[in-house]
């Protein structure tokens, strides 16, 4: 028994040298469903069966190899991003690259751009960049986003000119690249907790002079010229190619960056950019800072410091001496003992899990209930009214902050930042619309549920398997059964059960 447990944990860690991959007992349906809720847009019966058949390690391998779902472009003069938002839902419900989509979406909530400032055609190439880089190296992601015209325009690195006398270089990108995308404002311990100095105070990672130095390092970039055309100091907007350097517009002075490291004078724009990104990438904060957030997006709002430290160590070194290997990081997040400890038949720890953000709430229900989603659909408006208009967060600080604490101040609950009491009611209304009304472009086949309605126990077991990893609590089951008993016919019984399950806090919080 001891040997088997040991080997199971080795297998989960992706390295079980002693036994063929399928020897330990396969994941239970509930465990598979829970794993899929952390790694896809929601568990489906087919995916549960497939994951059970091949095991989590092979499943991750399949997902890393899956090519990205298509993201449509919009016309250069398009005034709306809605076709891209609608495609998000067809991809999320039907695409095979589920893990890539989940990770790319998490990255889009760290490396934030927004349709609030960017016009619609800027967004699709940026989303394709994130999908392509989601399983690459974090340094490549940093480099590609830094040179992307969408981010260039969003945080003003494009056409950030060499400062004239009486001016400073634009600090917008320089500041948020450090604060939000890579290292944060204070020094971290390897487990993600805040490092304190001898007087118990946090230690800032940089000061105003470092921000200005990065801003000057990033001067001299503009949009790529059209193919074959000559480049100017400021080219016209071009969302489809990385920005290009204009050496004459680059600040050539010395720049003192993080940890006192300097970029020497008279470097080219490319040399300064590469050096600046390396200076950040090698800062010890990057691993814990980024990994904690990825864990929060996929698994739990309140990972233990030890969990963060284990994943951050993989970020620092994937086992082959490579820093920033995102596939290794994702594997480490999803196969960690803490992520898997709550798999049925065990129960998750009291502080485990995270509130499903509006997008995840909606996709989880659609996939769990087997909805068919058409290319043209009205789904985007239903996340917007819950405070999550797709690709249009209010600022670079995303819809919600990774540091947001729920009432009482003890526990983190990032997604609760947009879950106001009013939005909680809007969510129940969304469940109502899905079950009783209907959303244009969405077909939920309620017939299988209605067929089971004569036997409430069977229907609730079915719902428990689809939406609750088979772990719907007994008192919840009994409460819903009472409401079903008061409903006059099979359809209204089934709908009452669907509505109450979908609107419940137990479903909204993915544990």
């Amino acid at each position: 028994m001891k040997l088997r447990l040991c080997c199971l944990s080795l297998l989960l860690a992706g390295a079980c040298p002693l036994l063929p991959a399928q020897s330990p007992s396969p994941m239970t349906p509930g465990a598979a469903a829970r794993f899929l809720d952390q790694s896809t847009w929601g568990a489906t019966p087919a995916d549960v069966a497939h994951l059970q058949a091949i095991g989590p390690s092979a499943w991750l391998g399949e997902q890393f190899a899956a090519s990205p779902s298509p993201i449509p472009d919009v016309a250069v003069d398009a005034r709306t991003l809605d076709p891209v938002r609608e495609a998000f839902f067809t991809n999320a419900t039907g695409g095979h690259d589920q893990l890539r989509q989940r990770v790319a979406f998490a990255l889009s909530e760290i490396w934030v751009v927004s349709n609030v400032k960017l016009r619609a055609p800027a967004i699709p190439p940026y989303l394709r960049l994130l999908a392509a880089d989601a399983f690459g190296n974090y340094f490549a992601l940093m480099n590609d986003v830094t040179l992307s015209p969408a981010m260039g325009h969003y945080l003003d690195m494009v056409d950030n000119d060499k400062p004239a006398a009486g001016q400073e270089a634009n600090e917008n990108y320089a500041r948020e690249l450090n604060q939000l995308f890579t290292i944060g404002t204070v020094m971290l311990n390897p487990d993600g907790t805040i490092m304190l100095d001898g007087t118990g105070q946090p230690i800032p990672t940089y000061d105003a002079s470092v921000v200005q130095a990065f801003a000057r390092a990033f001067t001299g970039w503009t949009y790529a010229p059209p193919p074959g055309a000559e480049s100017h100091k400021h080219n016209l907007k071009n969302w489809n190619a990385p920005m290009v350097a204009v050496e004459s517009n680059h600040d050539e002075g010395t720049k003192t960056l993080l940890n006192g490291q300097t970029l020497p004078a008279n470097q080219s724009a490319e040399e300064d950019l590469h050096g600046a990104l390396e200076n950040i990438f090698n800062h010890p904060n990057v691993g814990p800072f980024v990994c904690q957030q990825l864990i929060q997006h996929l698994v739990s709002s309140n990972p233990s410091p030890a969990y963060v430290q284990r994943v951050a160590a993989v970020f620092d070194n994937n086992g082959s001496g490579v820093r920033g290997d995102l596939q290794a990081v994702i594997r480490a997040i999803l196969l960690d003992t803490e992520a898997r400890a709550g798999d049925p038949p065990a129960t998750p720890a009291a502080n485990e899990g995270h509130l499903r953000e509006p997008v995840l709430y909606l996709t989880g229900l659609l996939r769990g209930l087997g909805a068919a989603v058409s290319a043209a659909n009205n789904l985007p408006q239903y996340t917007a009214i819950e405070g999550q208009p797709l690709y249009a967060p209010p600022s670079v600080f995303n819809y919600f902050s990774p540091g947001y604490r729920i009432a009482g101040g003890k526990l983190l609950g990032p997604e609760f930042q947009i879950q106001s009491p009013s939005v909680a009611m809007v969510r129940a209304d969304l469940a109502n619309t899905l079950v009783y009304g209907g959303i244009a472009g969405v077909q939920v086949d309620e017939a299988p549920f209605i067929a089971l309605a004569a036997n409430p126990g069977a229907l609730l077991d079915h719902l428990s398997a689809l939406l609750f990893h088979g772990q719907m609590p007994g008192d919840m089951n009994a409460t819903i059964a009472t409401a079903m008993a008061a409903a006059p016919d099979a359809t209204s019984k089934a709908q009452a059960a669907l509505y109450l399950a979908a609107s419940s806090s137990q479903y909204q919080v993915e544990r």
Binding site: D156, N351, V509
Partner: protein, 452 residues
């Protein structure tokens, strides 16, 4: 002190007295009495308008004396507002001339009419601070200056040793007794969750302007009643999971507060004041509608939160701030008109907050970067208006007010003093001010004097 959640549970378990016909009758009688006694009505409200992104205070109001204006134009360069475009006012103190941004037409009128004031160079501080101290690094300073998220949070929470509460919520903790027996929250946000509103004993209500206040999909059939009851019971199951519990509490508060508000609003006649069709206009209209039914809600003290975003003007600042002030100014003016229509213009004080100011020195993109102390607006009949409170910074890069060399003003009035002035007028007793602003004793003077 018991929490609102506990009160709700007591009400539920105590035979439902609070929701009985007798209870509702008593409620209505109380409301009628308040209406009768309107001339001596004891009601006060604070309205926070948060300008997200960091509004450029330097171009909100500009001193027009020759020395200051010349220094301003020299440093601001292409971002300097021409004096001919500025809307002139004269501050009572020292008869000093200032000009408001050209889009703040109504604010100029309110200032001249004595219903608006400017509080100069307010910001987050832990103690009074000089440039010498700041550069030497040997005095306590707020964490993560110049960071949006940190400074937004500090403006909303001030110094918060316990964690998790905002200064508006803590003020609500101390005045909520005045609203008894009403159980409607003292703090209400029309702009989503806001850290400023969370108290230690109280939690804020929220309203989405224009959204329905009742759950959809429920009729009056026995089946619908059973389903609604089940929904409410599911919210009370003990799951032992902290985040599920938080989701339950959030929904319970939503159902309870919305139901109360729905009943109160149901008999109200529409306001005649027209509001601009903007996001902020809709938010302030919603606040005015709630103030309209204050007696039906049984409220003596209320704090409201609304917001306008987009002030992070790293590029194209002149056009962006123009557009934003063209939303802010008419919305504020309409709100003032609505308070007059409701007869509460002396009982409602509106004030601005924002992440920080912006550098006086421009950057290379016709914009400005993150700075620190800024000038703020206070509006209402109780404001000792027509004046500029505090000290304007000296416009000199690397000068005595600059935290560096780009014109980032070290605040000369702490957020705590600004907030305590508002809270004192609102009804927080002097003994309770240190609960609302624990760091207030670090500053000389708990009252800036802009409210009479």
């Amino acid at each position: 002190m018991i929490s609102r959640r506990q009160i709700l549970q007591l009400a539920c378990c105590g035979g439902g007295l609070a929701f009985s016909p007798l209870g509702r009758l008593g409620f209505r009688t109380l409301g009628a009495m308040n209406a009768y006694a309107q001339s001596t009505e004891d009601y006060r409200a604070l309205v926070c308008v948060f300008l997200f992104g960091g509004n450029d205070g330097n171009n909100t109001i500009v001193p027009l004396d020759t020395a200051s204006y010349d220094a301003y134009t020299q440093i601001r360069g292409s971002l300097a507002l021409p004096s001919s475009s500025l809307l002139p006012v004269t501050a009572k103190t020292g008869a000093r001339g200032f000009g408001f941004h050209s889009k703040l037409v109504n604010l100029q009128k309110l200032f001249t009419g004595g219903q608006a004031a400017v509080v100069a160079n307010v910001g987050t501080l832990l103690q009074p601070l000089t440039r010498t101290q700041y550069l030497a690094g040997n005095a306590a300073t707020p964490e993560n200056l110049f960071s949006h998220s940190d400074q937004q949070l500090q403006w909303q929470t001030s110094y918060d040793a316990a964690g998790g509460t905002g200064w508006g919520g803590r003020a609500a903790d101390k005045v909520s007794y005045m609203n008894a027996p009403s159980m409607f929250p003292t703090f209400l946000s029309v702009a989503g969750n806001a850290a400023i509103g969370q108290g230690g004993d109280t939690s804020p209500a929220t309203v989405i302007p224009g959204a329905p206040l009742e759950l959809t999909g429920f009729g009056f059939s026995a089946a619908d009643n059973a389903r609604k009851l089940a929904l409410q019971q599911l919210l009370t199951l003990d799951t032992g999971a902290a985040l599920v519990q938080q989701a339950d509490t959030t929904m319970q508060n939503g159902l309870s507060d919305s139901s109360t508000l729905q009943k109160a609003l149901s008999g109200a006649s529409p306001l005649t004041t027209a509001f601009p069709k903007s996001t902020l206009g809709a938010q302030l209209q919603q606040i005015a509608q709630v103030i309209q039914v204050r007696n039906e809600l049984g409220m003596k003290r209320q704090i409201f939160f609304c917001s306008l975003g987009g002030f992070d003007t790293h590029t194209d600042q002149l056009n962006t701030q123009d557009t934003l002030f063209a939303q802010l100014d008419p919305a504020l003016a309409a709100f003032v008109s609505a308070t007059q229509e409701l007869g509460v213009e002396n009982a409602v004080t509106t004030f601005t907050e924002s992440d920080f100011a912006r550098t006086l020195q421009p950057n290379t993109n016709g914009g400005t970067d993150h700075a620190w102390g800024s000038h703020h607006l206070v509006v209402g009949g109780a404001v000792a208006g027509g004046d500029v409170y505090g000290q304007f910074p000296e416009f000199a890069l690397g000068g005595p007010n600059d935290a560096g060399s780009a014109g980032r003003w070290i605040p000369t009035i702490a957020l705590d003093q600004y907030g305590a002035t508002l809270a004192s007028w609102f009804g927080v007793g002097s003994a309770d001010l240190s609960y609302v602003f624990p760091n207030l004793p670090s500053f000389p003077g708990a009252n800036v004097g802009f409210l009479s």
